[in-house]
Amino acid sequence: MAASSRAQVLDLYRAMLRESKRFSSYNYRTYAVRRIRDAFRENKNVKDPVEIQTLLNKAKRDLEVIRRQA
């Protein structure tokens, strides 16, 4: 369970970074990449599964935003 969710998180991270690189505006692109990296790094040590799920959901929504806007 923990292993699969770790893989899930990493997949999400990679997907977000990949989508962020598609922004045509320099400022948006750099912000997105930086913010994603910092946010994932900051929440690296969260243990509570409910909180992890909340954060993942938010990240998925943000991924959709990036997909639409990039």
Partner: protein, 617 residues
């Protein structure tokens, strides 16, 4: 089967649903009749979502806790499914078994290249006449894409996953549509922005200028003038610009209801940023209008007993101009001077308050020099002397923590385009306890509690609300980052260049607004030299005139230093490379301009410029 009865035509749905729910009569028909379910929906989001849903499902529906055995996810999945149906998307829904395998039905079967549209006999599809649906295979640019945006916030992950696949397809179809596509992002460390020049959506492709590579645009370092739209804000606004175009004051149909729901949600988002109640937020067209309402409205309402106002000399032009027009009406205004640091003297403020003072107006963060006024102390003084306190917080909202109750603020102006929101919208906070009475400036249909009549622009206020929510989440991160970048900028400039003065108090200062005066260099020429960087030498509203800024004059800078001031703005999207580039160019050009300056030569020779007797011709 439930599917047939609960067709995707909610306006035709009977009141009693097979699932055992009962629609309240006249309830909004966007839903599938879960008036009581709304209360059971516990989302991880804040209360306003609930309120919105409760609103959507009909006011006054009583709570019947024992009624539903379903969980929140289930209802939200329904909500999303209904929305999808409403928008013509074929989604396997309503039969409950579909929800078990969310993401496994419906969407996967749709052809990738098309915008899918319900064509009748799909699983869970609706038999709705096709005249309202776009032609099969026709990709409407963006028209259907983000339509489900509002539910993004409402639905849970599983509920919205159903639709995410849908949106992905729609997005693919949309991006495949003809139209100007931005050039590929430039790779590597490009300090200049590599965007394509804006093209109108009408001129499709070949008629525009031939491809000359990406047009380079200057670095943007003028965030005090305006800020770019955060992509999350744009994403929240789009549905209201495309599909959900109803007038929020229309009470009779779903278009109006959904727009009103969005407007109220935005109001809650703005209110929660400043610690206010949503009923205390009035949407306006910007901070200028908010300032006008606050100053003129309060002054005129209490005209019979109170004739005096107090403000400072460093306020924004709209505040000073409003006060000037009030003076013409017979009011007295005291313009408090500021100290050299840019901060007002609290003792002077106390001394200036008279028995007939109605309002004190002091801005939170100055837009030119970035000084933070001691708002909490001023609020304390004003509330003890029973004087209303207004603050123009356009530059401060969302950047520093503000709480109208802790700081005893009675009126506050908020601007949309300073916090990465859209231009043309703002808000004013008007306290209700104790009530601040304001005479309305704009007469009309009584919208916004009668204080600001006129249709509320739903997309803009949704953008403002989203911007406030994003700002609340990002405040700490942004503040830390901007402080670091500001430190870097100031240190690097100051250590390489002598005779640079930072205007404004270094301690009580918002780091993102840095105003530096370079001695012996003319500000305008430095601005023109720094043509790759978008900077300003003062506020945008005074940039047309040749006079140095009145703010700099108020803080007592010498004329020559006032002329050579440049304002650097650092915002959420500013990068370290941009700051480094700006610093490097600034140093280079200041040195070059100083080389050319005879004054600089004289200073190098040790002559004191103040002692020179310039000859009279």
């Amino acid at each position: 089967m439930g599917r047939d009865r609960c067709s995707g035509q909610p306006w035709l749905a009977s009141n009693a649903h097979p699932n055992g729910h009962e629609c309240a009569k006249g309830a909004a028909t966007l839903h599938h009749g879960f008036p009581n379910a709304a209360h059971q929906l516990s989302t991880p989001h804040s209360d306003p979502e609930e309120e919105t849903k409760m609103w959507l499902f009909g006011k006054g529906a009583e709570e019947r806790p024992g009624r539903h055995a379903h969980g929140a996810t289930h209802h939200e999945a329904h909500l999303d499914a209904v929305e999808a149906a409403w928008l013509g998307l074929s989604v396997g829904t309503h039969g409950h078994r579909h929800l078990r395998g969310i993401g496994k039905c419906g969407p996967r079967r749709w052809p990738k290249s098309r915008l899918y549209v319900s064509h009748g006999k799909r699983r869970g599809g609706r038999s709705r006449p096709d005249e309202s649906l776009p032609d099969r295979g026709e990709a409407l640019p963006g028209a259907w894409g983000p339509g489900l945006q509002p539910l993004r916030k409402v639905g849970s992950a599983s509920g919205t996953m159903l639709l995410r696949a849908a949106w992905r397809r729609a997005a693919v179809a949309v991006t495949a549509a003809p139209g100007p596509k931005p050039a590929a992002p430039t790779r590597g460390l490009r300090l200049r922005v590599g965007d394509r020049a804006p093209q109108s959506a009408v001129t499709a492709d070949t008629t525009s200028a031939p491809e000359a590579g990406p047009v380079l645009r200057p670095l943007y370092m003028d965030v005090q003038a305006t800020t770019p739209l955060d992509p999350r804000v744009l994403d929240a606004m789009l549905p209201y610009l495309i599909n959900y175009y109803g007038n929020p004051h229309s009470r009779t149909h779903a278009y109006g209801w959904e727009s009103e729901a969005a407007m109220e949600r935005a109001r809650q988002q703005v209110a929660s940023l400043i610690g206010a109640d949503p009923r205390e937020i009035i949407f306006t067209s910007g901070a200028t209008e908010s300032n006008n309402i606050a100053i003129k409205g309060v002054a005129r309402f209490y005209r019979s007993r109170k004739k005096h106002l107090i403000t400072t000399q460093t306020e924004h032009k709209c505040v000073l101009d409003s006060c000037r027009s009030l003076e013409a009406e017979g009011f007295q205004v005291t313009y408090l001077p500021v100290q050299k640091s840019g901060i007002i003297d609290l003792k002077e403020l106390e001394a200036a308050i008279q028995p007939d003072t109605s309002l004190v107006s002091v801005m939170t963060v100055n837009n030119e020099i970035g000084v933070k006024q001691p708002i909490a102390e001023i609020g304390q003084i004003c509330s003890s002397r029973k004087v209303y306190f207004h603050t123009d917080a356009a530059q401060a909202v969302g950047k520093i923590p503000l709480n109208v109750n802790d700081m005893k603020i009675d009126l506050m102006s908020i601007s949309g385009h300073k916090i990465y929101g859209p231009k043309g919208v703002g808000a004013i906070y008007i306290r209700r306890r104790p009530r601040v009475r304001v005479e309305a400036l704009q007469s009309g249909g009584g919208q916004e509690r009668g204080m600001r009549s006129g249709t509320v622009p739903t997309p803009l206020v949704v953008g403002l609300g989203a911007a406030c929510e994003v700002a609340q989440q990002e405040m700490e991160y942004d503040h830390k980052r901007i402080s670091k970048l500001a430190e870097r900028l100031i240190q690097n400039i100051m250590k390489s260049l002598p005779d640079v003065v930072m205007n404004g108090d270094p301690e009580h200062h918002y780091p993102g607004c840095i105003n530096l005066s370079f001695a012996y260099v003319e500000g305008e020429s430095l601005l023109m030299a720094l043509k790759d960087v978008a900077l300003s030498s003062g506020s945008a509203c005074t940039s047309a005139s040749l006079e140095p800024s009145y703010v700099l004059r108020a803080i007592g800078t010498d004329e020559d230093l006032a002329h050579s001031s440049i304002r650097f703005g650092i915002g959420r999207f500013t990068t370290e490379e941009e700051v480094d580039y700006t610093v490097e160019k600034c140093i280079q050009h200041v040195k070059r301009l100083r080389e050319m300056s005879p004054l600089w030569e004289m200073v190098q020779d040790g002559i004191d410029l103040k002692s020179i007797k310039w000859t009279q011709h």
